[in-house]
């Protein structure tokens, strides 16, 4: 019989009265599951270790969330006293002519990023996994754009996007006979230009994730496919993709959530222009909060933020339910 058996008798050996909930006492007389026992087992030191974490989360995560919810029900510019206005902020946002424009632009950005930006890291990772030599170099090159600070990257690409005929990109496309493009200077091309830069800046991280996922694919499956006469693309379609589909599903939802919150590109490239062609939901939130030099409308900014959170939460739930059967596990 171990010391533990003495300390914590098995439930079926207990007297019925004890099983009913009377305190079980240790040989030292401390009742099991009581504060005293909790203290004895080092509960205070555990709490002390947890306190900084609780403080940081409380101060910088939970409190701001609670404050956000309260602010969404107030009319406040954080300067004059706040007044309670119920759901009128939500109503004002929905009736703002810029709201549908922002939603449409955000959906378009996310859609373009999904069509063009989602397959590229996957294709790159599959190709890199087939390469025998210098795979490390290719991985580093793929990840390099991620290392560049986003603001620096955007300012760099702003120079590249110079719409003059001798702008960098216009010069390059001129070599293959394409006429100069307006890039971010025209309403029809501004948003795709932002998607292009965003894809370049963020693809590297996803490439690394896929490369790691590909190492988990059983090589024998490829050998079996080769025996059956499968070429490269059939191996990819029938072996690689099914084996990493869990990772793909996760990266897809992360990309959708990320692109729905796009802010840096529209803010730094075009500030929502030209003519609101690149105005996104996050930029609209920013404009509500900081667009008025006399004091922002933080109530509306909070309301739109909550609407975005709610939408992404519902979307994620539906997505996870719908794709549950598709994942490997």
């Amino acid at each position: 019989m171990s010391k533990t058996d003495v300390m914590t008798p098995r439930l079926e050996k207990l007297d019925p009265a004890l099983r009913a909930g009377a305190a079980i006492r240790t040989p030292r007389g401390l009742a099991l599951g009581t504060p005293a026992r909790w203290v004895k087992r080092g509960g205070i030191s555990k709490l002390l270790f947890l306190l900084p974490l609780l403080f940081v989360f409380g101060a910088f995560s939970w409190y701001p969330i609670v404050r956000l919810v309260l602010m969404s029900l107030q009319h406040t510019n954080l300067v004059q006293p706040a007044t309670w206005v119920g759901f009128s902020n939500f109503s004002a946002v929905i009736h703002d002519p810029l709201f549908p424009i922002a939603v449409r632009n955000t959906a378009e950005f996310a859609g373009l990023a999904l069509i063009f930006g989602y397959p590229i890291p996957l294709i790159a990772a599959v190709l890199m996994s087939e390469v025998r030599r210098r795979r490390g170099l290719y991985s580093a090159l793929a990840y390099l754009p991620v290392v560049i600070p986003p603001v620096v990257a955007v300012l760099l690409w702003k120079t590249f996007y110079d719409a003059a005929p001798n702008g960098v990109f216009n010069t390059v496309i001129g070599w293959v006979g394409i006429s100069p493009q307006p890039w971010i200077q025209a309403q029809h091309s501004a948003l795709p230009s932002l998607v292009l830069e965003s894809t370049w800046a963020n693809a590297g991280a996803t490439v690394i994730i896929y490369l790691a996922a590909l190492t988990g694919v059983n090589r024998e499956l490829y050998e079996a496919a080769a025996v059956d006469g499968a070429g490269l693309w059939k191996k990819v379609w029938h072996v690689t993709l099914p084996q990493i589909r869990t990772v793909m599903l996760i990266t897809m939802i992360l990309q959708i959530i990320g692109t729905a919150q796009v802010f840096i590109e529209p803010y730094l490239f075009t500030q929502g222009g030209p003519a609101n062609a690149t105005l996104t939901v996050m930029l609209l939130i920013y404009d509500y909060a900081f667009g008025n030099s006399l004091g922002g409308d933080y109530g509306k900014a909070a309301a739109l933020s909550l609407m975005l959170v709610a939408f992404l939460a519902v979307f994620s739930l539906i997505y996870l339910r719908a794709t549950r059967s598709w994942s490997t596990h």
Binding site: N77, L78, I184, T270, G273, P274, G291, N292, G295
Partner: protein, 475 residues
């Protein structure tokens, strides 16, 4: 050493003991003397030191500009030993100002444009300076229209006008010469502006005429300037009776002119997202032939863009043949945080007088200020509109005449022409919001060849009316 020898060496002899006693006595006396001196010094300088943070230069200013500013602080602190001044980098932009206002992190003395002074004052965001300002010896010399920008609806003085400007036509004399135009004869009509812009682009390949198109209120600001120059007004009525008037015929005319220059003449370059700072930058880099901005932007071009002075030219904005045509004028107000203590407000008033006002009204200070600016290679004599009156302005200019280092001859068209033009204040109600509502109209015209100007202005008008109504209702 034996124990006895050690003991002997450890025991001090009588001489040594006497020396130590005497030395201790001397030290004690010295300490007492120092202590007494310190106490008397403390008593003499018991007047508490007040510390104020003041708006300094914009981020990115040159080292020379920063050195000059610090010299001015040193001079002020020498004249006012009980005041400590800390310069804080400061650049008024709508978003950053709103954030700093909410966070309470503005410096104690800061500047705001004329457009925001009254509203901020009425919202209790600026300290009440009435009693302090009325004691100023030059208080009665203020131009009534200019000081009114710093008076709120209750008649309280909540800010002091420190500078006023008129919109002007900035032009590159070098590009004019290269294009075969006379740099001493800038355009006087909008038809000439269009023709000169076309010629500059054809002959030099550079932008003939640039229009600010950034989505940060500057596009709407310049469009309003053009509207005034053609004789229109973006608002009618004042106060609670203010109404948006964006779709006035003169605004249509101005936008039509821009559309022609952009899509027919193709002389507006390829970058339509320029703002105030980036326009100055591009102009200083020799990429723009003409653009519209404030008459005082040369200072920024020297401080932040390293402009070659020989290329700079300034002319009055051409005015249409319309009795209502005029030049949009604006300015800067110096204000104090409402949370400043009375001692800080008093110190802030001294700083405002020293830094902003005394060069305009005190000959010695004007000369000292000019000398410091020249020593640090900063511009002296940049054209501004009088905060007091034209006569005082000319007198102040005469004090610093020996130190003026801006190319005065190149600015002659503006200096000689501006006082003949009618200066019109910016739209009174929800000014910055109105500018913001007009931004997308300009951007649409510059980026869409099929833009329907009338429809755009009508749509913007309803948005603008909402902004004005919201501002008037205090929401």
């Amino acid at each position: 050493m034996t124990f006895r020898e050690r003991g002997r060496s450890m025991r001090l002899n009588i001489k040594e003991k006497t020396f130590i006693r005497r030395g201790a006595a001397v030290a004690a006396v010295a300490l007492l003397a120092v202590g007494a001196g310190t106490a008397s010094n403390a008593a003499a300088s018991k007047a508490p030191t007040v510390t104020i943070n003041v708006a300094a230069l914009i981020p990115g200013s040159t080292k020379a500009a920063v050195a000059e500013f610090n010299k001015q602080i040193a001079e002020f602190e020498q004249q006012n030993p009980t005041i400590k001044v800390n310069g804080v980098q400061y650049d008024w932009t709508g978003p950053t100002f709103a954030a700093e206002l909410a966070a309470g992190t503005l410096p104690d003395v800061f500047t705001v444009p004329f457009t925001d002074g009254r509203s901020l004052g009425e919202a209790g965001q600026l300290a009440n300076l009435t009693s302090y300002v009325k004691q100023l010896p030059y208080y009665k010399e203020f131009n009534p229209a200019v000081i009114a920008e710093g008076i709120d609806g209750k008649g309280q003085i909540i800010a002091i006008p420190t500078a006023a400007y008129a919109q002007a036509l900035q032009y590159n004399r070098q590009l004019f010469s290269q294009a075969g135009l006379n740099p001493n004869d800038p355009p006087k009509t909008w038809a000439q502006v269009e023709a000169d812009a076309k010629q500059i682009t054809q002959k030099t390949g550079k932008t003939g005429f640039s229009e600010m198109g950034a989505n940060d209120n500057t596009a709407g600001w310049i469009l309003t300037t053009l509207d005034y120059a053609f004789g229109g007004r973006m608002e009618t009525g004042v106060g609670t009776k203010a109404k948006a008037n964006f779709d006035n015929p003169q605004a249509v005319q101005a936008l039509q002119m821009l559309k022609t220059m952009r899509w027919t003449d193709n002389d507006m370059g390829s970058n339509f997202g320029l703002s105030w700072g980036t326009s100055n930058q591009a102009f200083a880099a020799g990429q723009i032939g003409m653009f519209i901005s404030g008459s005082d932007v040369y200072t920024n071009m020297v401080q932040a863009d390293n402009i070659n002075p020989s290329i700079y030219g300034l002319a009055p904005i051409p005015l249409a043949n319309n009795k209502n045509a005029g030049v949009l004028g604006g300015g800067t107000l110096a204000a104090v945080k409402p949370t400043a203590t009375p001692a800080q407000i008093a110190a802030a008033m001294k700083w405002i007088t020293f830094f902003y006002m005394s060069p305009l009204v005190n000959k010695q200070q004007a000369i000292r200020n000019a000398q410091t600016l020249v020593a640090n290679k900063q511009p002296v004599g940049v054209p501004e509109l009088p905060v007091f009156n034209e006569k005082q302005y000319q007198v102040a200019q005469s004090w610093i005449a020996p130190f003026i280092n801006v190319p005065l001859k190149q600015l002659a068209p503006f200096n000689s022409g501006i006082f003949k033009e009618k200066v019109i204040p910016e739209p009174e109600a929800a000014t910055q919001a109105v500018y913001g509502d007009l931004d997308s109209v300009v951007e649409d015209v510059l980026t869409d060849p099929g833009a329907n100007i009338t429809s755009l202005l009508q749509q913007a008008n309803s948005v603008g009316q909402t902004s004005i109504t919201s501002a008037n209702s205090g929401s």
